[in-house]
């Protein structure tokens, strides 16, 4: 790979201070492709498509680096950017946002209009700068740095560890910090279950007597004919479970619940149609009682 880069550099350096015809052709092929990739990223509503369009642009840029006598950067671009970083993007996209495509409706009023205007403004500004002062530039010869002392990669390495040693060390600190930060932000671990007991542990504790009673409090209306809050729960023997009474109702004498009790246990005295007829029904009842 490095050998290839050296070849690219060698080829470019032959045309000393000029941009060669091959490079021109490559530029006019890859330039529009890079632009198209950028625009595609901008306009595709699906985030995955955006990422793929961006890969295209980055790949084009990698080639540009190579033909611009920066073979090391070109390969780093392709391997690290296009290969690693964009895959990380896709990875995260798959994790979180794959199905989320941008809605068409813009909620911020004028955001698109002003974004477009400012984008054109920025482009105009930069193009203005370039056309004002950088039109008559010529391509200098990088043969010196690229051709001696082991070529482009070796010279970049030498520069990094001599002239740019301190910034290089700073980037190491930056990368360590970024790695730690990413771990802290992305790590969920078991932090959200802290202090919470499993149901099994809870039952064991209940029966060990660490709670006031082994079972939960009875809900209102258990075993009764109604489930109103005002209706007390009944124990299996039909008596009222005092725990099921709310505080408010608890303060009322239990005798006042006599009727409710009758209703809830079904022993209520219902209106009897026969009571209106003759006393025979009474006698019948007496008979039945006796």
């Amino acid at each position: 790979m490095i050998h290839e880069a050296a070849l690219f550099a060698q080829a470019a350096s032959d045309t000393v201070n000029k941009v060669g015809a091959g490079e021109t052709i490559i530029f006019w092929i890859l330039g529009p492709i890079a632009l198209a990739g950028a625009l595609g990223m901008l306009f595709s509503r699906n985030a995955v498509h955006s990422a793929l369009w961006l890969v295209l642009t980055m790949f084009s840029l990698g080639v540009f680096y190579m033909i611009e006598q920066a073979p090391f950067l070109g390969f780093v671009q392709i391997i690290v950017y296009t290969g690693a970083i964009m895959m990380l993007f896709l990875f995260v996209l798959m994790m979180v946002g794959r199905e989320s495509s941008d809605s068409v409706v813009e909620v911020l009023r004028g955001q698109r209009l002003w974004g477009g205007i400012l984008g054109v403004g920025v482009a105009g500004l930069f193009i203005g700068i370039v056309s004002q002062s950088l039109v008559d530039v010529t391509s200098s010869n990088l043969n010196g740095p690229n051709g001696t002392n082991g070529g482009n990669v070796a010279n970049i390495g030498r520069s990094l560890f001599t002239d740019f040693l301190f910034p290089f060390e700073l980037t190491s600190a930056l990368l360590i910090t970024a790695a730690v930060g990413a771990i802290v932000l992305a790590y969920t671990g078991k932090s959200d279950r802290r202090g919470r007991k499993t149901q099994r542990e809870l039952v064991a504790m209940r029966f060990r007597g660490e709670y006031s009673r082994p079972s939960p409090l009875p809900g209102p209306g258990v075993f009764a004919t109604a489930n109103s809050v005002a209706t007390p729960a009944l124990l299996p023997d039909g008596s009222v479970a005092p725990e099921s009474l709310s505080e408010l109702i608890d303060s009322v004498p239990i005798s006042e619940f006599a009727h409710d009790l009758e209703v809830s246990t079904g022993t209520e005295h219902h209106a009897d149609a026969h009571a209106l007829t003759q006393s025979t029904s009474d006698s019948d009842e007496e008979v039945s009682h006796s």
């Binding site: 955001q111 002003w114 920025v122 500004l125 004002q132």
Partner: protein, 646 residues
């Protein structure tokens, strides 16, 4: 003007005159309830002691040569500030000593009287504290040797007067009257203060002796201005036109206060001020003429309004206003009248204090009733009061031989003796005033002491029958002493110019002239005839017919006007209170909309604009990015402009 000598002998302890009442006031005020039992005795004792000291100083002074009678006692340096050096000192001369005797003498009697009059009041001790404070301030006023010490006493008596008028603070009328008195006094005090400022600015001192020695160096305009401003102060304190309307309202205070402060002493401070400043007034004809005019107008107002009132104390109050008008008139006559003014002041101090104490005695017996229409026939019930009151009455209407006859007739005579139109105008005003005085005083006496006993059919305010009774000795003995003064004082002072000669070192020689249209005899006869007519008219209108208990509502316009104080209050209301209110409202308006508006407006501006700017913080990171990009473009564009345009 006599030369001034440093005090010597007994006079060196004359500071005790001030210290004793002040000490009494201090003890009573600080001691609080602990002094309730003996507080009134301490109050009386300090005043009587002061009277004794005053008497000794006075006797000592009479023993001196005439040229040595003006003495100054330097006490301490009061305000030693660079160019402003004010010493605290006393000036002992015949004028101040005369006042000292009047204040401590009448004051002592009224203190004793108050023991009885205020016996039912649970705050009697505080009352005596205020009275002592008043006496101390009044003595400072007359004894001070500079205008600044006079001003201190002037404000002190104002304070005491305010406190005592508002004594019954649970009555809204009393509280209002106290405030009114205080405020109207302020108007006068401003004049006095400005006069003192002018004196200090021009002469760099306020010491009487230096001021009077150098007053001639000032321009006539300045002197007139000072004289008029001093007169404004005098008008405020003495209830003279146009500041007269507070004095009748001041009768809301307890009757001893009315007698001491608002009849005998404090209200005469204005007369004292004019007489004390005689070297200033001697140099300004316009100033003196103004004083005379003020006096003449006031005496007529007082007489006319006095005829219409049914409140016994208010009638006496307007009588006071009118009598002080006489004094001012006399004081305005300059060297022809200073001594006459002081003479009338002294006799008036006796008989008016006596009359007020009599009125207090009547009120005391009649359950604090002041409406004369509910009195009548009290002569039989309270004979001592009736007799002493009657003597005061005879004195005030100028019955021959009694004090008023000598002092008031002398003023009327002096007024008539002015040259040209002045003699006619002032003389007639004075003599008409005498006739009216006779009328309203007779009306008062008849309605109170004679005629049908109207109170028999009436109830008191709290529903009891009236039980008129004579007051205790502690009350009628001072009345008796004052009655004796009413009889003899005039003759004693006036015969042989005894008082005028005594006052010569302070006031200059009393001059006499007969430039007027009538001779003295004719004037005396005229005065007596008019007074007699007044008495007869009063007897015919009040004595011969039944007095209705209810005040007649349908009356002629002069009576209506008089009942409305000759529209004095309305005048104040229209000329001062209303514009003041308008100014006030305008200022409030300006404050609210101008100053507050500016302040609040700035606040509202910032609050409103920040409330709108706040909306820029939408929380949308994309809009922030938009503005960042915009800012970056502007920045880069600016850099490019600089880079490529140059």
């Amino acid at each position: 003007m006599e030369a001034v000598h440093p005090a010597s002998g007994v006079a060196t302890v004359s500071w005790l005159l001030l210290a004793l009442p002040a000490f009494g006031a201090l003890v009573l005020l600080i001691g609080g309830r602990r002094t309730d039992k003996w507080g009134h005795l301490l109050g009386c004792l300090t005043i009587i002691a002061a009277f004794v000291i005053g008497l000794i100083t006075f006797i000592n002074s009479t023993g001196l040569a005439v040229a040595d009678r003006v003495q100054e006692l330097h006490l301490f340096s009061w305000i030693p500030v660079n160019a402003l050096q004010v010493d605290f000192g006393l000036r002992l001369d015949p004028l101040s000593l005369t006042f000292v005797l009047l204040i401590t003498g009448v004051g002592g009697l009224i203190h004793v009287y108050s023991i009885g009059y205020m016996s039912a009041d649970r705050d009697r001790r505080r009352f005596f504290a205020y009275l002592n404070l008043f006496v101390a301030s009044m003595l400072l006023l007359v004894l001070g040797d500079s205008f600044v010490t006079l001003y201190l006493g002037w404000e002190g008596v104002g304070l005491a007067s305010y406190l005592l008028i508002g004594w019954y603070i649970d009555r809204p009328a009393a509280a209002t009257a106290a405030k009114k008195a205080f405020l109207m006094n302020r108007v006068g005090d401003v004049g006095l203060a400005i006069a003192i400022f002018i004196l200090f600015a021009n002469l760099h001192t306020t010491q009487y002796s230096v001021v009077f020695a150098n007053i001639g160096k000032l321009s006539p305009g300045t002197i007139t201005a000072i004289a008029l401003l001093l007169l404004l102060g005098a008008c405020g304190k003495s209830g003279q036109f146009p500041l007269q309307s507070w004095l009748p309202d001041a009768m809301e205070g307890p009757t001893p206060v009315s007698a001491l402060i608002h009849a005998a002493t404090m209200v005469t401070a204005g007369v004292y001020l004019v007489c004390r400043s005689n070297p200033i007034y001697d140099l300004t004809v316009a100033g003196r003429l103004t004083v005379v005019f003020v006096g003449a107008i006031t005496l007529l107002i007082g007489c006319i309004v006095g005829c219409a009132y049914d409140d016994i104390k208010k009638v006496l109050a307007y009588s006071t206003v009118s009598q002080i008008g006489y004094m001012m008139l006399a004081a305005g006559l300059g060297p022809f009248g200073y001594a006459l003014a002081i003479t009338h002041l002294l006799t008036h101090g006796f008989f008016k204090a006596g009359l007020f104490l009599g009125a207090g005695s009547v009120m005391h017996g009649m359950n604090d009733e002041v409406n004369m229409r509910k009195f009548g026939g009290l002569f039989k019930r309270m004979p001592i009061t009736a007799v002493t009151f009657g003597l005061g009455y005879l004195a005030i209407i100028g019955f021959p031989g009694l004090s008023g006859y000598f002092s008031k007739d002398a003023i009327i005579d002096a007024a008539f003796q002015q040259p040209g139109w002045q003699g006619w105008v002032f003389g007639i005003a004075a003599v008409v005033g005498a006739g009216l005085t006779a009328f309203y005083m007779t009306r008062l006496v008849i309605m109170t002491f004679f005629g049908k006993e109207r109170w028999r059919d009436l109830k008191t305010d709290d529903g009891h029958d009236f039980h008129p009774h004579e007051a205790s000795p502690v009350m009628w003995i001072p009345m008796t002493i004052l009655a004796i003064g009413s009889i003899g004082a005039g003759a004693y002072f006036s015969l042989g110019h005894r008082l005028a000669d005594w006052l010569t070192p302070s006031l200059g020689t009393l001059q006499e002239r007969s430039a007027g249209p009538l001779s003295s005899t004719e004037i005396t006869i005229l005065t007596l005839v008019l007074a007699a007519i007044g008495v007869v008219v009063a007897i015919l209108t009040v004595g011969r017919s039944a007095v209705p208990v209810e005040r007649p509502a349908r009356v002629s316009w002069p009576v209506r006007a008089a009942r409305a104080n000759l529209y004095g209050d309305a005048l104040n209301e229209t000329l001062i209170a209303r514009p003041g209110l308008w100014l006030d409202r305008a200022l409030v308006f300006g404050d609210k909309f101008g100053i507050d508006g500016a302040v609040n407006g700035i606040g509202i501006l910032f609050r409103g604009s920040s409330g709108r700017l706040r909306k820029l913080q939408t929380g949308f990171v994309r809009s922030y990015a938009l503005s960042m990009l915009g800012g970056a473009i502007v920045l880069i564009g600016a850099l490019l402009l600089v880079r490529f345009s140059g």
